[in-house]
């Protein structure tokens, strides 16, 4: 498995506060990877480190085989759609495409123009006059037409309404299929990621809680409901992710590779959102942490 991003003991401190500490992570190439976690988990910091906007305080990070933003060639390998999708308000859409064309050696002008056309945007329009959804689409166009090996998107849909959100992700998926680019996409909204990701990284308190193929994650995680019982009494090979109890009943989320044979459990499957929530809750049981936002 070739890794498109590799972090080792990665940490970033702002003055006294660690926004990300001791993060070790490997993201495989050729996937759409969702980076999910509560607000303040360090997602933006991690992504900023990956594109070289930030320099690490501790540890190392390697993206597409090089130090982020080390030189122009490295910068060309990584596309970035920043949070809130910044654009130059005084520049038109055509100006932005020109900016991309003039600053990126692998710029694909045909892709950029056809995408703007398909979106129904007027190239002469100033970026400052665009709606949030249109601006996000413009930023995505810039990122895609750069033809990077890895496209990183930081909460690209956070400020969009549900319709614009769906459109954005659809366009992203089409483009990914067309250009064979690896994508790393952060969100605190699992339902967004569910639609597009085939790989998932759950980041809580700057630690990677779980990471893997979405399909195999869904297969290996089960919800067990049954008479009240201590999680410690489960057979080896069943790792408790989260547990909740009422007076008579226990509900556990476990990770296991083998089928659950105990007849006292009612076994159910989890959706991706429940799975992610289970990991957050599991953390919360240890120490109260930030709450996962659930949006649909």
């Amino acid at each position: 498995m070739t890794a498109v991003l590799r972090a080792e003991g990665l940490g970033k401190r702002y003055r006294r506060r660690w926004a990300l500490s001791d993060c070790t992570l490997k993201i495989p190439a050729g996937h759409v990877t969702g980076l999910v976690g509560p607000n303040g988990a360090g997602k933006t910091t991690l992504l900023s480190l990956a594109v070289g906007l930030l320099a690490p305080t501790a540890g190392t990070i390697e993206v597409c085989g090089g130090r982020p933003a080390a030189d122009a060639a490295q910068l060309a390998k990584v596309g970035f759609v920043a949070q809130d999708t910044p654009t130059y308000p005084g520049l038109s859409i055509a100006d932005h495409l020109r900016l991309g064309a003039r600053t990126n050696p692998r710029w694909d002008d045909a892709v950029a123009r056809s995408r703007v056309e398909r979106l129904g945007l007027d190239p002469a329009q100033k970026a400052g006059r665009l709606s949030g959804g249109q601006r996000a689409q413009l930023a995505l166009t810039l990122g895609l037409a750069k033809r990077p090996e890895l496209l990183i998107l930081d909460e690209p849909v956070a400020s969009l309404d549900p319709l614009a959100r769906r459109e954005f992700l659809q366009v992203l998926m089409e483009a990914v299929a067309e250009h064979e680019v690896s994508v790393l996409l952060s969100s605190h909204v699992v339902s967004d990621l569910e639609r597009v990701c085939d790989h998932l990284v759950v980041l809580v308190d700057s630690q990677v809680r779980v990471e893997g193929d979405v399909e195999s994650l869904l297969e290996s995680h089960l919800r067990l409901t049954g008479p009240r019982r201590e999680p410690a009494t489960l057979p080896a090979g069943q790792h408790v992710v989260s547990a909740s109890h009422t007076d008579r009943q226990s509900t556990l989320v476990v990770r296991t590779d083998a089928p659950v044979l105990d007849p006292s459990w009612t076994v159910g499957r989890l959706g991706l959102e429940d799975l992610v929530l289970a990991y957050m809750e599991g953390t919360r049981a240890v120490a109260p942490g930030p709450v996962m936002e659930v949006l649909r």
């Binding site: 900023s48 594109v51 070289g52 906007l53 930030l54 320099a55 933003a69 030189d71 122009a72 060639a73 910068l75 060309a76 990584v78 596309g79 970035f80 920043a82 809130d84 910044p86 654009t87 130059y88 308000p89 005084g90 520049l91 100006d95 020109r98 900016l99 991309g100 003039r102 600053t103 990126n104 050696p105 692998r106 930023a139 810039l142 750069k146």
Partner: protein
């Protein structure tokens, strides 16, 4: 990258360029008449119209304001506005390194500032040239080109001020990350430097000349009453006998060469000033015979006037030295700005 810089910059550039060109045209239109006057008459100042004088001072004001405006409106927002709007995240993730991004922005802006101010200073210098030969630092009715106010508005130094202001603005903007505070700080610092350099530094950039002269009416510039109220000792200033010198120190010394006030008898010796009770400003010289007697007595008692000045011939050495100083400081600032942008910004 140059294209992006230019695209972001062209509106501001056009505004400043328009003002600079308009002013240059006005000067170009009025300049030849001034040159004619200078060629025809020895006493140019008697033939200047009020309009000429206004233009002269307008030139000084424009040249004084231009670097400040450029530093505040071109320099300060250069980096700060990108950081404020978050667009640096867009710019820095294209295939252009931060260093090249800053080098292009700073380079283009500094060159444009140098060009705009260069045009202005060329126009003003050319326009004022006929006046320079006719001026004396104190007897002329317009300040000579070596006096602090005129010096900064002529020759090559304004280009240095403009470049310095741009680099300072960009650096302050990178450190503050906010446009408005960066503009305010840039404004304050540029003004402070523009006052500090002529006050404390410029006089030392080239060797000064000295004179110790006897008193006579030819050399006398003025006699004034000191500022400690009525009864305070009189002070006298004399001129250097040359045209366009910049007098740094004009001090009466006694027979042993120590700085001193005029002796107390001198006030009584002089004819009464025209407006009794005036405690400020030079007093017009009158009563030639009495004056001569007073001066002779001063000279006989060993009093002399000691002058330290920058001679007029030092105009260009001072210009180049000051330009070099500003460019060197700009270079250091730019180095810091690059380091800061590379290492400290995110």
């Amino acid at each position: 990258m140059i294209w992006l810089t230019w695209r972001q910059f062209r509106a501001q550039a056009a505004a400043v360029a328009a003002v600079a060109v308009a002013f240059a045209i006005v000067l170009a239109a009025t300049g030849p008449r001034l040159a004619d006057i200078a060629a025809t008459y020895r006493d140019v100042f008697d033939h200047l119209t009020a309009n000429d004088r206004h233009l002269f001072y307008t030139g000084i004001v424009v040249m004084a304001v231009a670097p400040v405006i450029i530093g505040v409106f071109w320099g300060a927002p250069l980096v700060a506005r990108e950081l404020e709007a978050g667009t640096h995240r867009l710019a820095w993730t294209q295939s252009v390194t931060r260093t090249r991004w800053l080098a292009t922005k700073l380079g283009v802006t500094a060159l444009a500032a140098a060009a705009a101010v260069g045009l202005l200073t060329f126009a003003v210098t050319w326009w004022s040239q006929p006046l320079d030969a006719a001026l004396s630092s104190t007897h002329g009715s317009l300040p000579s080109r070596l006096t602090p106010v005129s010096f900064a508005m002529r020759g090559v130094v304004p280009v240095g001020y403009a470049v310095f202001a741009v680099v300072l603005g960009a650096t302050v903007g990178a450190v503050f990350r906010r446009t408005l505070p960066a503009m305010a700080v840039t404004l304050a610092v540029v003004i402070f430097v523009q006052i500090a350099v002529p006050t404390w530094i410029r006089a030392h950039l080239a060797p000064t000349a000295e004179q110790t002269v006897m008193f006579d009416r030819e050399r006398l510039d003025g006699i004034s009453i000191g500022d400690t109220g009525p009864g305070s000792p009189l002070r006298m200033t004399v001129n250097t006998g040359g045209v366009g010198n910049w007098v740094l120190s004009n001090q009466t010394v006694d027979a042993s060469g120590r700085a001193t006030d005029l002796p107390s008898w001198f006030g009584a010796c002089l004819p009464a000033p025209p407006a009794p009770g005036t405690t400020e400003g030079p007093v017009k010289v009158q009563g030639p015979d009495t004056m001569d007697a007073c001066f002779q007595r001063l000279n006989a008692e060993g009093y002399r006037q000691h002058l330290v000045y920058q001679p007029a011939r030092n105009f260009w050495p001072l210009q180049w030295a000051e330009l070099a100083l500003y460019l060197a400081v700009s270079g250091l600032l730019a180095g810091f700005c690059f380091w800061w942008t590379r290492r400290r910004l995110s």
